[in-house]
């Protein structure tokens, strides 16, 4: 990024700005997210000032930062967005969906440009010339009537460079743009001082114009009327007055056509005031002082000294602000800190070790005589409690609300529904539900897929919905809730649902074993079968086809499950159940020889003692066991892991039924050791991928136990 300083100003600098890039990128990302959210929530008919101001502020902040840090392409684009948003918040333009579209697209482009800057691949970002032009067209097309033409912008440097206020510039432009003669009426005033303060604005601000009180018998006591001559637009005036009186208290009327007014020569005094506004030289340099203002450096030349002193020192007294502090739209920075995820993970790891050490101590202390070691044992039980609390608190650091995932869908659905010509409402529930960050990242894609499917294939075209007696606009609901130690995420739609008969027909066509008497739940599960997903399915059957097997696989890999309910004609629901975190798992420990293995408790169905008559051999090394009229393949863990056995008389005689990918198998083990929460350690990153093993953990006694990959074991049984 050698080019980053190109725009940061003429004078050389000793300060390396690049150290602030990262903060800026994160902040700009947040601003873009927020802007997108607000744009999507914007009600075009009833957009209020607070919303529009909030969106404007987002664009404004990004522009400021981008210009400062020298990302001129981002600055230029966001500057355009800002000027459009400025018109909107000033009510010079009415928001339309075309504007929202172009702003959303621009936000995307800005995001992409920022990503390029971040990765150092400048020049590969999207072209923004078209967007810039479109925004410009919107701004110009409707703004023709607005008095101050938008400042022409050739480059971001120019865009934000100050317009130097030379003594001659203001009056000249006032003449050129025409002085308007207005009747200003301030009504329902609380104090006369408010009106005085407004009148003072015209004295304080050179070039604003002249104001004369109008005295007429029909003016109420809490009312003031002024005769105003100004070149500023009504909106600019209202903005200025807003510091003193509420907008609804102000009424501005055109007094008479401008053309009939004799040209007003600028008075000698007003010229003097203007000279004092800023020293021309520093203004060109990008700063200026108000002469006579508190703390301003003493001007050297005597000409400026005759200038009317700025009333700053006494003015604030009279100008007590009536503008309500704008709470809302943009929250002040929340009390949070940013921490690298690696630091959090290290913390979690250390707490994991601590938990293990604590478990070890607890185990070793069991043999101690409570009468002799009472104090030690009390201390150990305190340690137990504190360790668990600590673990819980540390784990919660990684927990982030589902709203992070949910927030990306309104935009996606809006685009998709627009493309498909459908009408869709998107409802979210339980956005505050928290989930481990690692899981959130991994669940986003499957959820995206499900939501897309609902919109693409579930919701019908508006006319079809009307014909079916449904509201024209479909609804897709995304909800999240905690249930026990899991989180359940549901995608519901009120579309056409799935057709049982079509799925069965399709399954037969593909040579799958199905029967008409299959329960619904099993029929719906068919769509998760690999290969069931074809483009044909998408159009023929109600089309949940594409990639559902991938969705299922991804969720299963997270130790989660997927269930489907559907009613033809009424819609469907996909429920995804996930563990709250990947770092801690409820496990069942089983013993084989001297080894201990952990099974994820979520996949354990039942366990029982082997009765030899239930096991039948189907040929070499292939055995099945009959459990309540169902035959299940038997897998001997001893053979899978080639566990050395020193006591040759001992054989595995406990059976554990596990379920994964919708099939069940029986594992043969020596003994069941119990249930416990285990801290999952990744084996791949520390060692390498081991077949049939998903991870490892350290047991209370310090031994390492492997966590079994039940899905892999089930797959193994199929061969």
């Amino acid at each position: 990024m050698a080019d980053v300083h190109q725009d940061s100003g003429g004078a050389g600098t000793d300060i390396d700005l690049s150290q602030f890039y990262q903060i800026f990128f994160e902040e700009a990302g947040e601003n873009l997210d927020q802007m997108e959210q607000m744009l999507l929530n914007l009600n075009l008919e009833t957009a209020d000032d607070e919303e529009l101001n909030g969106i404007f502020r987002c664009a404004h902040s990004i522009k400021g930062g981008a210009a400062t840090f020298g990302f001129s392409d981002v600055a230029e684009l966001t500057h355009k967005m800002e000027s459009l948003l400025d018109k909107l918040r000033r009510h010079e333009l009415k928001p339309t969906s075309v504007m929202v579209d172009v702003l959303l697209e621009s936000a995307d482009a800005a995001r992409a440009l920022l990503a390029c800057h971040q990765s150092g691949t400048v020049g590969q970002g999207p072209a923004t010339a078209d967007l810039v032009q479109r925004i410009q067209a919107i701004v110009a097309g409707d703004a023709a009537a607005a008095a101050p033409p938008p400042a022409p912008v050739a480059s971001p440097v120019v865009a934000v460079a100050p317009v130097a206020l030379t003594p001659s510039a203001a009056p000249a432009s006032a003449e050129a743009s025409g002085v308007r003669h207005l009747i200003l009426r301030l009504s329902k005033l609380d104090h006369a001082a408010q009106a005085d303060a407004v009148a003072e604005l015209f004295r304080d601000i050179p070039g604003l114009g002249d104001i004369k009180p109008v005295l007429a018998p029909d003016i109420a006591a809490n009312e003031r009327v002024y005769d105003v001559q100004t070149s500023s637009s009504n909106e600019d005036l209202l903005d200025l007055f807003a510091f003193h009186v509420a907008r609804e208290q102000v009424s501005i009327q055109e007094a008479e056509p401008v053309a009939t007014l004799p040209p007003e020569p600028p008075s000698a005094e007003s010229v003097k005031v203007e000279t004092s506004v800023s020293h021309p030289t520093p203004a060109a340099e990008g700063y200026g002082f108000f002469d006579g203002a508190p703390g301003a450096p003493k001007p050297g030349d005597s000409a400026a000294k005759v200038a009317v002193a700025a009333p700053a020192a006494e003015a604030p007294k009279a100008m007590h602000s009536v503008k309500a502090p704008s709470a809302g739209a943009l929250q002040p920075e929340a009390a949070t800190i940013r921490v690298a995820i690696s630091k959090v993970d290290q913390l979690i790891n250390l707490v994991g070790e601590l938990v293990i050490t604590q478990a070890m101590l607890a185990q070793n202390s069991r043999s101690l005589d409570p009468t002799v070691y009472q104090q030690l044992l009390t201390g150990l039980s305190d340690l137990d409690r504190n360790t668990r609390d600590l673990q819980e608190s540390v784990m919660s650091i990684r927990m982030i609300p589902m709203s992070i995932v949910f927030s990306r869908f309104p935009r996606m659905l809006r685009d998709l529904a627009g493309k498909l010509g459908k009408k869709v409402d998107f409802v979210t529930q339980g956005e505050a539900t928290e989930l481990d960050k690692g899981l959130v990242e991994k669940i986003t894609d499957p959820l995206t897929h499900l939501v897309r499917n609902s919109c693409d294939h579930g919701i019908e075209m508006p006319q079809d919905r009307v014909r079916a007696g449904k509201p024209e606009t479909g609804t897709i609901t995304l909800s999240a809730a905690h249930q026990g130690g899991s989180i359940v995420i549901e995608v519901r739609d009120d579309g056409k649902g799935m057709s049982r008969s079509k799925i069965l027909a399709k399954a037969r066509e593909r040579g799958m074993e199905v029967s008409d008497s299959m329960p619904d739940a099993e029929v719906w599960q068919l769509i998760f079968a690999p290969g069931f997903s074809t483009a044909e399915v998408v159009t023929d059957v109600s089309g949940r086809g594409v990639g559902m097997d991938v969705v299922k696989r991804n969720i299963t890999a997270l130790n989660g499950t997927v269930e489907i309910e559907s009613a033809e004609g009424y819609g469907m629901r996909v429920s995804v159940r996930l563990p709250l975190t990947l770092a801690i798992m409820d496990g069942m420990s089983v013993g084989v020889g001297n080894e201990v293995y952990i099974l994820p408790l979520s996949s354990v169905v039942e366990s029982f003692q082997v009765r030899s008559e239930a096991v039948s051999t189907l040929g070499q090394d292939s055995r099945v066991v009959k459990v309540r009229d169902e035959y299940m393949p038997v897998i001997e863990l001893e053979k899978v892991f080639q566990v050395p056995r020193f006591n040759t008389d001992k054989t595995s005689d406990m059976m554990v039924v596990i379920e994964a990918d919708g099939s069940r198998v029986v594992l043969l083990v020596d003994e069941l050791l119990g249930q416990q929460q285990v801290v999952v350690k990744n084996l791949e990153s520390n060692y390498r991928k081991v077949p049939n093993v998903s991870g490892a953990t350290i047991l209370g006694d310090g031994k390492v136990a492997l966590i079994l990959d039940t899905a892999a074991l089930v797959r193994r049984s199929r061969h």
Binding site: A11, H60, A161, A312, S321
Partner: protein
């Protein structure tokens, strides 16, 4: 050592301004918006206030007006650091009681130069 109150809702801007000021040997107190700044100004005097204009809750103009009402800030230099470079905005800043303005984006060296003009 002079103490400067810097007010900006953008963390990157705030960090950069602070860094620049600290590197130049000033002490810095940061505030995230006008409301925060005004609270921080209670009970602590500053040699200079450097404020952004466009901020949530209370903008730079609002802060300037509030500070000028405060006896400790009658004559404290208040610089508006702003991208709003329009004349009207400058005039509004003047009316609010600001000492001067500095346009964003600014050069760090320029910032220090300007500050040296108002802090003796």
């Amino acid at each position: 050592m002079a103490v400067i109150l810097t007010v900006d809702d953008s963390p990157s801007m705030r960090k950069m301004v602070s860094f620049t000021l600290i590197a130049a040997g000033y002490q810095v107190v940061e505030a995230v918006d006008g409301v925060d700044a005004f609270e921080k100004a209670q009970g602590q005097a500053f040699d200079l206030v450097l404020t952004d204009q466009n901020m949530p809750r209370m903008d730079g103009l609002g802060l300037t007006r509030k500070l000028r009402e405060h006896p400790d800030f009658k004559s404290t230099p208040i610089l508006m650091l702003t991208t709003e470079s329009s004349d009207l905005m400058k005039q509004a800043g003047r009316a609010a009681g600001a000492t001067g303005w500095l346009v964003k984006p600014f050069d760090p060296v320029r910032l220090i130069e300007v500050i040296k003009k108002v802090i003796k």
